[in-house]
Amino acid sequence: MLAVMEPPETARLAQAAEEKLAKTLPLSREEQLALLARLLAKQETRKERRYAGP
């Protein structure tokens, strides 16, 4: 039997925001916050890894 993991709330809202953005629908403030959290938390540039340091 497969266990299905529900994504955390922020990840779910961020995904919903991405889908809505693709359709250019309005985003709620909560969805905007979730999308921003995902973009800031997950975005990692190559240079950032280079110079991030301890």
Binding site: T24, A37, R50, G53
Partner: protein, 498 residues
């Protein structure tokens, strides 16, 4: 004023150079800055800035990875609250990614320029100059503006409104762009002004000059009696080791390998005190230029007009006269490979120009308040010549669009078609819902115009601007679109093909 451009380090240095230009006209203006953790050292303690907000990305990432929703939201809201504690005269988002647009929407400012998420529904770019910045990829090689000048113009115009900005003061124009530089311990052996600084690496393969060429340059410079310091990020140590290992022992003896041994500002010290800094289009190039050290920049896929060393008297060897829109940074660049080490050494040691590649010097066009590139006969780079009229047109339309541009000639062909369709829709009553036939006509006319103007900066700026217009009230949307359409026709009349 608040400025958002969190990374990469080279971009942050360029933003700081633009802030210096703005402060030269507004010396008393306090400036705050939003940076990434990686760029913290460039902004904290910087004499140009009042305070820096550092995005707590590592803390956010840890909470995201742990699925800690409450902690993630709370940490982000703390950061946004700190940002929102000040009401700014201007918030300038120079960051071209969505995170910047969402951040900008949370800032409290009388005026905002750059990307912003608006009305809960769309990203919009405010400022003619920022629209132009976003339009640059369509005609990368034809862009006549340096990024620093675009940033500075956008901020100056926003601060000055319809009046011209106050003239710059020389005292601020010569101020330091970087925080105070301290000699790194590993660089004790270097005598300021008596060594060459090489920065051979880059995060992008396309910007890297082949390592065998660096070895060749090192060898030739060492034979001429020069000392050489190598800098780079920690992960570039193997690159520096390979460059040195391939050199003869007498050349190795003249080299000081500082790769991975200094911080970002430590590297800046090394380049700032070099007789000449030799690098690709890298952060080291921007650090050296920002500290006033002479630079020889070896350009591959990127456009030196747009992101070359900023400041007077630097030299660029351009190996690609037609930069690709996406810059193709991910693969080694054929032009850079063709530029032989002997040719670069001949320029460094003898002042002899390389064959087959244009060599440009950075020059300040004081009248137009922008950097241009000139050749040894003082003839400007073709893109800079082409852009002079565009610069005037954008300046004029940013100040007084109704009065400062000539009338456009009567529109013909697809322009006339689109004009009629916009006119038709713009005159409908408020709350009008367009029928599918109207939308099809509009789409078809816009597509035809796009086909006819595939790589023109002013029409790309039109597309960017209209894409950001709200469509909640469609006739209001069409009135704004019509206005922007006619402005673009007038700009096109000033400089066809720009």
């Amino acid at each position: 004023m608040l400025v958002l451009l969190p990374h990469n380090p080279g971009d942050v240095v360029m933003a700081l150079q633009a802030i210096r230009r703005v402060k030269a006209s507004y010396p008393g203006l306090p400036v705050d800055y939003v940076a990434s953790e990686e760029c913290r050292s460039l902004v904290e303690g910087n004499p140009l800035l009042r305070q820096a907000f550092v995005i707590p990305r590592q803390a956010l990432r840890a909470r995201w990875d742990a699925g800690d929703d409450a902690g993630l939201k709370s940490r982000l809201e703390d950061f946004l609250a700190a940002l929102r504690a000040t009401r700014y005269v201007l918030s300038a988002n120079l960051y071209q990614e969505r995170a910047g647009g969402l951040l900008q929407s949370r800032v409290d400012a009388e005026r905002k320029i750059g990307l912003q998420f608006r009305d809960d529904e769309r990203f919009q770019i405010r400022s003619r100059w920022m629209e132009h910045l976003f339009a640059v990829p369509v005609d990368r090689g034809g862009n006549p503006f340096h990024a620093v000048d675009l940033y500075a113009r956008a901020m100056l115009r926003a601060l000055a409104g319809t009046a011209p900005p106050p003239p710059p003061t020389k005292a601020v124009l010569s101020a330091n762009v970087l925080p105070p530089l301290i000699r790194p311990e590993a660089a004790r052996a270097l005598v300021p002004g008596e060594y060459l600084a090489f920065h051979p690496g880059s995060a992008w393969p396309g910007k890297c000059w082949p390592e065998s060429h660096w070895t060749g340059l090192l060898t030739r410079c060492a034979r001429a009696g020069m000392k050489v310091a190598l800098t780079g990020a920690p992960e570039e140590r193997p690159l520096a080791e390979r460059i040195l290992a391939a050199a003869p022992p007498e050349a190795r003896a003249c080299a000081v390998d500082l790769c991975g041994a200094t911080s970002l500002l430590g590297s800046a010290w090394v380049h700032a005190h070099a007789r000449l800094s030799i690098t690709g289009d890298t952060v080291a190039m921007h650090l050296a230029a920002a500290s006033g050290a002479p630079v020889l920049a070896l350009f591959g896929p990127s456009n030196p007009v747009e992101t070359g060393p900023y400041g007077r008297g630097h030299v660029v060897i351009q190996t690609d006269p037609a930069p690709a829109p996406d810059l193709a940074l991910g693969r080694p660049h054929a032009g850079l490979s063709r530029l032989e080490s002997g040719e670069v050494a001949a320029w460094v040691l003898e002042g002899e120009l390389p064959a087959g590649f244009p060599v440009w010097e950075t020059f300040r066009d004081g009248e137009a308040d922008r950097q241009i590139l000139i050749d040894r006969h003082r003839w400007p780079h073709p893109a800079c010549v082409r852009g002079k009229a565009l610069a005037r047109a954008l300046d004029a339309s940013a100040e007084r669009p109704e009065a400062s541009l000539p009338d456009a000639p009567p529109a013909e062909g697809v322009r006339a078609d689109l004009g009629r369709i916009l006119e038709d829709g713009a005159n409908r009553p408020g709350g009008w819902t367009p029928d599918p036939a109207y939308l099809a006509r509009l789409r078809s006319a816009e597509d035809a115009l796009r086909e006819e103007t595939p790589a023109t900066l002013v029409w790309e700026a039109y597309r960017i601007a209209t894409n950001g217009l709200s469509a909640r009230d469609f006739s209001a949307h069409l009135r704004a679109r019509r206005e922007r359409f006619h402005l673009t026709l007038r700009e096109e009349a000033v400089r066809p093909g720009s």
